[in-house]
Amino acid sequence: MKAIDVDQVQQAIDRYANKPVYIHLETTNGAYASHFDDKAYNIGVFIRNAKISYEHGKIVGTDQAYRVGLKTDMGWVYAEGLSQWEIDSDDRLLMAGHDREGRLMVALEIGEKPFDY
């Protein structure tokens, strides 16, 4: 993945608008958070292959961390803390944020075909 380029990511977001797409959305601090720090909480969420369609989407932020919001018919998809992106070999838009040690903290991915499950 490479550092987010707002214009390029915005173009990709636009490309997937108004058509059925599959979403992978995730945030996690790992299954070991409270094992290594008894004051920490284990938090994690993921949804894989949610099929949605969005009217429009936008990327906003600074190079430290970007936010992406996708406006759907009846609601929103939202992710904060994204800093890297790529279009993978299956033409999917992958966006993610990692901590200093390279561990994934948040991911939002959009593709026209379902993700492996």
Binding site: E26, A31, F46, L94, G102, R103, L104
Partner: protein, 223 residues
């Protein structure tokens, strides 16, 4: 002497951090070892440092790392195809049935797995419980022994001292090589150790201190 050892863990790298010294000891005695690896660690957080994996490329990368690690250890590998983080939501009976079928085919004298409720990661607990259930359902006359590995912070307090303790420092190089086969994961996990107390020591020394002994509890099927 053991006849055949089956190791049952959910993630590529569990075998490396948890039992690669013990596995090496068995292999050096000429005892066949089979690793049943539950998932490909698809939802792992470590993407390499600096990152070289993505959420989508990680499974294939970890699969290659797992195959390489099993070559280092010289063990047979079978991948069970479950999905990372979801094992506890599968039917325990079905997972146990599947494991039992494999165990009845392989006929091990010993099974190594995680100690349910004392293995921190929900996948560890769930697969450990299914593995123990699989062995419990076997005919007592042909049941393998089970060594269960606990890693929770309070396991000594709750379970007492493990009865099986191997000083694996003679096999430590092999253990490091196995860990390092899991390149996408090794930096993150070893790095975490480095940050802890002994800042001045090199990684290998710290790893030796932390991982120089592998411990297991023999499961008691009577009680």
């Amino acid at each position: 002497m053991e006849k055949h050892v089956v190791v049952i863990y959910p993630h590529p790298d569990d075998e490396a951090f948890g039992a690669s010294g013990t596995i090496t000891k068995f292999r050096e005695e000429g005892i066949p070892v089979t690793y049943l690896c539950g998932t490909l660690g698809e939802m792992g957080r470590n993407m390499g440092n600096p990152t070289f994996a993505t959420r989508e490329s990680l499974p294939e990368i970890r699969k290659k790392e797992l195959i390489a690690a099993c070559e280092v250890l010289d063990v047979e590998l079978r991948m069970l195809g479950y999905r990372d983080k979801t094992l506890e939501f599968e039917s325990k009976d079905e997972v146990a049935k599947r494991l039992r079928t494999i165990l009845e085919e392989v006929k091990p004298s010993l099974v190594i797995t995680h100690y349910p409720e004392h293995a921190v990661h929900p996948d560890h607990n769930a697969l450990g419980a299914a593995a123990i259930e699989a062995v419990r359902q076997m005919n007592p006359s042909s049941r393998p022994k089970v060594w269960a590995q606990a890693i929770s912070n309070d396991h000594l307090e709750k379970l007492g001292n493990p009865d099986i303790c191997f000083d694996i420092t003679p096999f430590f190089q092999k253990k490091m090589d196995t860990i390092l086969s899991h390149r996408s994961q090794a930096d993150g996990v070893l790095g975490k150790m480095k940050k802890d107390p002994n800042q001045d020591k090199d990684l290998e020394a710290i790893a030796k201190e932390r991982m120089g002994v592998e411990r297991f509890y023999t499961w008691n099927f009577e009680s």
